[in-house]
Symmetry: C2
Subunit: 658 residues, 2 copies
C-alpha cells in the first residue's frame, strides 16, 4: 500500500527547482554556468533541518555536496557550477537535525534562565549517537564536545561549547542514515558549450559566394568571404545543404515546376547518383576543400553550421538501396511529399513507420556522425517537426552523449506546443515567432513568455529577422530604419540570433509577389551574385553591435530581461543585467520606421539594481554620449533617420563596468 | 538507452490536465461532478489523430471511453462524470489515424479535381488493415466500405462513401495496436461526498450546551440544541474533543497554569484513567447517548464532526501501556510539549520517531475506525502539521479506501507550503488565512490564488471568521456590521465555511487582554452558559444566508469566482456562476463597518455570461428588490447600519434562474 519503509523519516522535500516537467526533461545551461537550486523542504513541528545540494556529471560515482540555506517560507537555496559539457544530475537531501534543534533550543532555555542539567544530558546523548556514526577527526571533535558538555562547569561555558557552530556542523553531518531523505530521481541539466547560450549566426548560400556574376560559388569562395563575416562579428557561419542536388522534378527559378538545363535546383532536394547526405555537391568542391573551410573558419572565430534536411530527391541513392524507407503507392511509384492538394514532387519524405525503422534511424544518425568527423559541431535541422519526436530524442541524445560539444538548432516555425516539445526533447536552440512579432505589446508579451516562464529553462530562442523562406511584409518597404530596428531587436533581446545575408545587410526586400514572404529570385532556386561593397550596406553597423554584444556580458542571458514602461506605443524599452559582473544595459528602440518618436520612460530601478533615488551615469554605446540620470522618469526621442535606438550602459558610481 | 520499443509510434501526448504535481497527487471532485480533461496531443507532420479519454474507478478492469475533440493549438478536450466516492483514474490514449488522414485529404484532392484511382486503392488498403483487426458488425461495415470504394463507379459516389463519418469512425477505432500510445501512469481523482465540496459548519462546545448556568452540558443538551443549529441552515455540527480530560497539570480558566478542584480543564488535554481517544467524558454522557446524538443530528440534516487531536494528557492510558510512544528524558520523566522556552506540561506529544512507529500508526488509525463505527464520517484534525506528513498520507489513504465517505478538515494555520502539502496528501478541506485577510486587495489576491491557480484542484478552503483559538482584532470592537461582513464574506466567497458559536452569533468579542486573539473566559478552559435568545443574535440572518446558499448552486464552486472592479477600496465585488444551471450571482460587500460607502462598479460581462450590451435583471436576494441593468457601470451604496452587502442574482431574459 502507501506505507513507507521507515515511518520515522519525517522530512519532506516537496519540490526542487529549476526543473522541466518535474524532471522529465533536463534544464539547459552552458559550461561555466551557476545553477541556483531552490528546494521546498520542511518537517512536522518545529525541528531544525539540514538540507544539502548534491550534483555530479552523469555516470560519476561521487556527488559534490554544497549546503543549502533557508531563505523564507520553507524555501532552501543552494548553488553549484557546471563545467564539463554533457549531462549532469542534481538532487537535494535533507534530514531532521536533532542536535541542531537541541542546540538552538538550548540557547533559548539558557536565555530564559531555565535549569539545564537534563538538557546537557540530552545533548551529550545526541553527540554520542553522532560519534558512533563518525570516524577520524570528526569523531574526535564530537568526543571532545561530549566531554565538555558532560563535565561539571558553568552553564554558560557548556552552552558555548555545545552551540559552537563547528561542533553543530560536525554533529549535523552524521544523522541516522535511515532518516535521511533524498529527492528521487535526481533532476538533470544538459551542459552545452558556451556558443549554445550566446551566438550570432550568419547564413549564406555557398553557391552564391562567387566574386564573379554567373560562376557557381565554391568552398574556396566561402573561405575568401570569412574575413567579411568575421569583421561583422558573427560566431556561426551557417550553410544551407551542401550536397548534390537531384535533377528529377528539379525546380526552376522562383520555384517554377519546370527547370531549364542550366537551373541549379533547390539545395534541399538532396541527393543524386553521386551521393546523398554525406556527399558534397561537386561544384562546391571536395571534402578536403570543406575540411579546409572548417579549419579556416575556426581561425576566424567562426563555427561552420550545416543544414540537416532529412528528405531525398527522387535521385538519392537511398531510393534504390532502401526503397522500404519510403512509402510506396499502389502503382509502384514512391510517394512524394504533399500537403493535399499541394504536391512537392522533387522531394521524397522518409516513411518513419517503415518496419525497417531501426536501420533508418541508425543511418540518419550516422549523417551527424559523418559531419562531426569532418569538424562540424553545429547543425541547423530543417523541419524537425515533420519527423518523429521520438527519433529526435533518441538521435540527439545519442549524438550528444558521444559529442556533448554539438549544437542543434530546430528550424520549426510551427505550433507552440510542438516547438516547446522539440526544445525539451533535446534541441539546443530554437527558431521563434520573433520574425512576425512587430508591435510593442506583442514583443513584450512574447519575450515575457520566453524569459519569465518555465521556458527559460529549456527553450533557447534564436531570433531571425529574415531567412531564405521568410521576407516578412514589414521588410518589403526596404526601409533602412526597419532593417536596423529588426536587427537591433534580434541582437539585443535574444542571446542567440542570426541573419540571412547578404540579402539582409544589403537591404534586399522585393517579394516574389505582393504579400508573399518569398524573396523574388530567391537563392533557394538560383545562384545570385552580391555586391558587398554597396554603400548602403549595414555590415559596419552590424559589426559595431556584435562587438558591443561581446563586450557586455548582460547580453548573454535572457532571464534578466525586463521591460520598462514608456508612454509611447512606438518606443520599446528593456534592460538586461549580468549579476556576476554587474554589467547592466538599458535599451530603447523606436519601432516606427517612418517618424521620430518621443516619450517618457519610467525606470524600473529594481531591474537595474539601483537604489531608490540613486544618481547614475548612462553611456549610449551606439554613439558614445554620456548622461547623468537621477529622476524616475526620463524624456527620450529617437529619430529613424539617425540611429533608431539607444543602447545605454548603466554605470553606477564606484561600481566597475564590464 | 533512450530507444523506444517501437520507433513507428509517432503520436505524442505532451500533457494531461487537470493534474496535481504531474499526477503525484489526485485532483479532488465530489460525486456527480464533471471532470473536464485537456490533453496536449500531436504528431509530426500533418496526419490526423484519434484521441480518447479513459476513466474508471480504481481497481475496476474496464475503462469508460469518451472521445476527445480538438479545440485549437493541439489542445484536445474531453469530459467524464464521477459518481461513486473513492479514487478514480483517468488517462488519454491517442494514435495517428491513417484512414482519417486519408479521408480528409481525399476530399481536398477531389475538390482540386485530381485523379483519384490510386487514392481509392490506398484507402481500400487502409480499410482492409482495419477490417483484419475488427470483428462483428464493425468488420461488416468496413467490408461494405471496401467494396464500394473498390468498385468502378463515379468518383463523387465513392468519395461520399469513403468519407462518410460513420465509416471513418469505425475505421478509426481499429489502429495498429503497437502504434497506440497511452499516457502512463494514469492520473487520479479522489471523489468525495458532496458535503466535502459544499458545507456550512457550526462549532460548539457540548459542555456549554446546558440550558442552566453552572451545569455541565451533555449530549442530551446538544440534542436539544439541534433544531437551533438546523434552523440556522448548517450542515455540519463540529464538537471539540469529547474525551475524558486529564487532571495532571490541568489548566484553569483563561489558561492559568494552576487549576482549582472544580476547573474542567482543556478538552484537548485528552485522556485519564478511564480512557483516551476512544472514550467519552463521563459528564457528557454514554456511548449510547453519543450514537443517539449522531442519529438525531442526521434527522436534522446535520453531520456530527469530531475533533481528532493526537496528543495525550499525562494521565492518558497510553502513557502507561505504551511508554515507548513518548520521548523519555534522561531523568525518567516523559517529555511534555514545548516550544522553548515555553512549556505545555498538560500535554505529552507522541514521539513519531519511536522504533514502535508501526504500532503507533495502527493505533491512531483505529481511533478514526472507532468513531466511524459510531456513525461519524466528518473529522476536524487538530494541528496535523505537528505530526508526520507520511503518517497522514498513509492514515487518510487507508481510512478513505475503506470509507470513501469520510471527510478530513486540516486545522493548520501554518506556512503556505505545509498547508498545500497537507491538502495534496489527502486532507479533504483546509483551514485558511481568510481569518486574517481583511483589506480588499489582500482578499482579492488570496482568493485569486485559491480559485485560479493549480490549488483549486486540490485545496478546498474552509473559511472561518472566528475559532475558539482566534478572535481576530477586527472583531474586538463587537461591531455588528463587522460580524455581518466577516460572516457574509466567508459564506459567499468559499463553498465551505464555518463559525464558532454561540460566541459568533452572539457577537462575543472581548479578548483576554488587548491585542490578544484569545477570548476572555474562553470555553477552551471553562464551561460557559449562552443566552441564545438575545435580541442582537445574528442567528436569523445566518439562517437566511445559509438558505440562499442552498438555493443557489453558484455558491457551491470556487473556480468561477471573479472580482469586478469598483472605484472604492472599501467595496468588494465578485461573482460566481454555475455553468450547468446558469445560476449567476454578483455579490458586493462594504468592508467599512463604520461608514456608508458608495462607488461605481464596472461589470465583467464575460464572468456573468452576458452578451455585450445585453440588458438584464438583478434581484438582491438579501432584501428582495429587483432592478433592470444594462450599462457597463452601476452606482452602488452600502450602509453598514443596514445590511452591509448585496447578493444579486443575475436574471437574463428567457433564461431560467435556479
Amino acid at each position: 500500500m502507501n506505507e513507507p519503509r521507515d515511518g520515522r523519516r519525517r522530512v519532506v522535500i516537496d519540490r526542487v527547482l529549476p526543473s522541466v516537467e518535474g524532471g522529465a526533461a533536463p534544464i539547459k545551461r552552458v559550461a561555466g554556468d551557476r545553477v541556483d537550486v531552490e528546494a521546498h523542504v520542511f518537517t512536522d513541528g518545529h525541528d531544525g533541518l539540514t538540507v544539502r545540494l548534491l550534483s555530479r556529471p552523469l555516470g560519476e560515482d561521487e556527488w559534490a555536496v554544497t549546503p543549502m540555506t533557508l531563505r523564507w517560507n520553507d524555501e532552501w537555496l543552494g548553488t553549484f557550477t557546471v563545467q564539463k559539457p554533457g549531462l549532469h544530475e542534481y538532487t537535494v537531501e535533507a534530514w531532521v537535525d536533532h542536535y541542531l534543534t537541541w542546540a538552538r533550543d538550548l540557547e533559548k532555555r539558557a536565555e530564559a534562565g531555565q535549569e539545564l542539567d537534563i538538557e546537557f544530558a540530552i545533548g551529550a546523548g545526541l553527540l554520542k549517537d553522532a560519534a558512533r556514526r563518525a570516524s577520524g577527526s570528526d569523531r574526535e571533535a564530537l568526543r571532545a564536545g561530549i566531554k565538555t558538555i558532560e563535565a561539571p562547569g558553568s552553564d554558560s561555558g557548556r552552552v558555548a561549547v555545545a552551540t559552537d557552530p563547528d561542533l553543530v556542523a560536525v554533529a549535523s553531518a552524521y544523522p541516522e542514515r535511515s532518516l535521511r531523505l533524498r529527492h528521487e530521481p535526481p533532476l538533470t541539466v544538459i551542459v552545452d558549450p558556451p556558443l549554445a547560450g550566446f551566438s550570432a549566426w550568419y547564413e549564406m548560400f555557398p553557391r552564391s559566394a562567387s566574386t564573379e556574376p554567373g560562376r557557381h560559388g565554391t568552398f574556396r569562395d566561402v573561405e575568401a568571404r570569412l574575413p567579411y563575416v568575421a569583421e561583422m562579428g558573427f560566431d556561426v557561419l551557417y550553410l544551407p545543404p551542401i550536397h548534390p542536388v537531384g535533377s528529377t522534378k528539379r525546380k526552376g527559378p522562383n520555384n517554377r515546376t519546370v527547370a531549364m538545363p542550366d537551373d541549379t535546383g533547390s539545395p534541399w532536394a538532396i541527393g543524386d547518383a553521386s551521393g546523398g547526405h554525406k556527399a558534397i555537391h561537386p561544384l562546391l568542391g571536395t571534402l578536403a576543400d570543406f575540411r579546409r573551410l572548417v579549419a579556416a573558419a575556426r581561425d576566424h572565430g567562426l563555427a561552420i553550421a550545416l543544414d540537416i534536411a532529412f528528405q531525398c530527391s527522387p535521385d538519392h541513392p537511398y531510393v534504390k538501396t532502401h526503397p522500404d524507407w519510403f512509402k510506396m503507392r499502389p502503382d509502384g511509384s514512391v510517394q512524394y511529399a504533399e500537403n493535399p492538394p499541394k504536391r512537392y514532387e522533387d522531394i521524397y519524405p522518409f516513411n518513419f513507420e517503415t518496419a525497417d525503422w531501426r536501420a533508418l534511424w541508425d543511418e540518419l544518425k550516422s549523417v551527424f556522425d559523418y559531419w562531426i568527423a569532418q569538424g562540424v559541431t553545429v547543425f541547423r535541422v530543417d523541419n524537425p517537426h515533420t519527423k518523429p519526436f521520438r527519433f529526435w530524442e533518441w538521435c540527439i541524445g545519442e549524438v550528444k552523449r558521444e559529442h556533448p560539444e554539438t549544437i542543434f538548432l530546430a528550424e520549426a516555425f510551427t505550433r507552440p506546443k510542438i516547438m516547446s516539445r522539440l526544445a525539451r526533447l533535446g534541441f539546443t536552440q530554437s527558431y521563434t515567432y520573433f520574425t512576425w512579432r512587430t508591435e510593442k505589446s506583442e514583443l513584450e508579451e512574447y519575450l515575457e513568455e520566453l524569459s519569465q516562464s518555465e521556458m527559460v529553462e529549456f527553450f533557447r530562442p534564436n531570433f531571425w529577422p529574415n531567412t531564405p523562406d521568410i521576407l516578412t511584409e514589414q521588410l518589403h518597404t526596404g526601409s533602412r530604419p526597419t532593417f536596423l530596428t529588426r536587427f537591433l531587436l534580434a541582437a539585443t533581446l535574444s542571446p542567440n540570433y542570426g541573419i540571412y545575408g547578404p540579402p539582409f545587410e544589403l537591404l534586399e526586400h522585393i517579394p516574389r509577389e505582393p504579400g508573399s514572404e518569398e524573396y523574388r529570385d530567391s537563392e533557394k532556386y538560383e545562384i545570385r551574385y552580391w555586391d558587398l561593397d554597396r554603400p548602403e550596406s549595414l555590415a559596419p553597423f552590424i559589426g559595431h553591435v556584435n562587438r558591443l554584444r561581446r563586450a557586455n556580458p548582460a547580453f548573454s542571458n535572457l532571464h534578466s530581461l525586463r521591460f520598462h514602461p514608456v508612454d509611447n506605443e512606438q518606443l520599446l524599452a528593456y534592460s538586461k543585467r549580468d549579476e556576476e559582473s554587474g554589467n547592466t544595459l538599458l535599451i530603447v528602440v523606436n519601432l516606427d520606421a517612418a517618424n521620430p518618436q518621443a516619450g517618457w520612460l519610467t525606470l524600473d530601478r529594481e531591474a537595474l539594481a539601483l537604489e531608490p533615488g540613486e544618481r547614475f551615469d548612462v553611456e549610449d554605446l551606439l554613439v558614445g554620449t554620456r548622461y547623468t540620470w537621477g529622476d524616475e522618469r526620463q524624456y527620450l526621442r529617437l529619430d529613424p533617420d539617425s540611429i533608431p535606438a539607444h543602447i545605454f550602459r548603466v554605470d553606477r558610481e564606484g561600481v566597475a563596468h564590464a
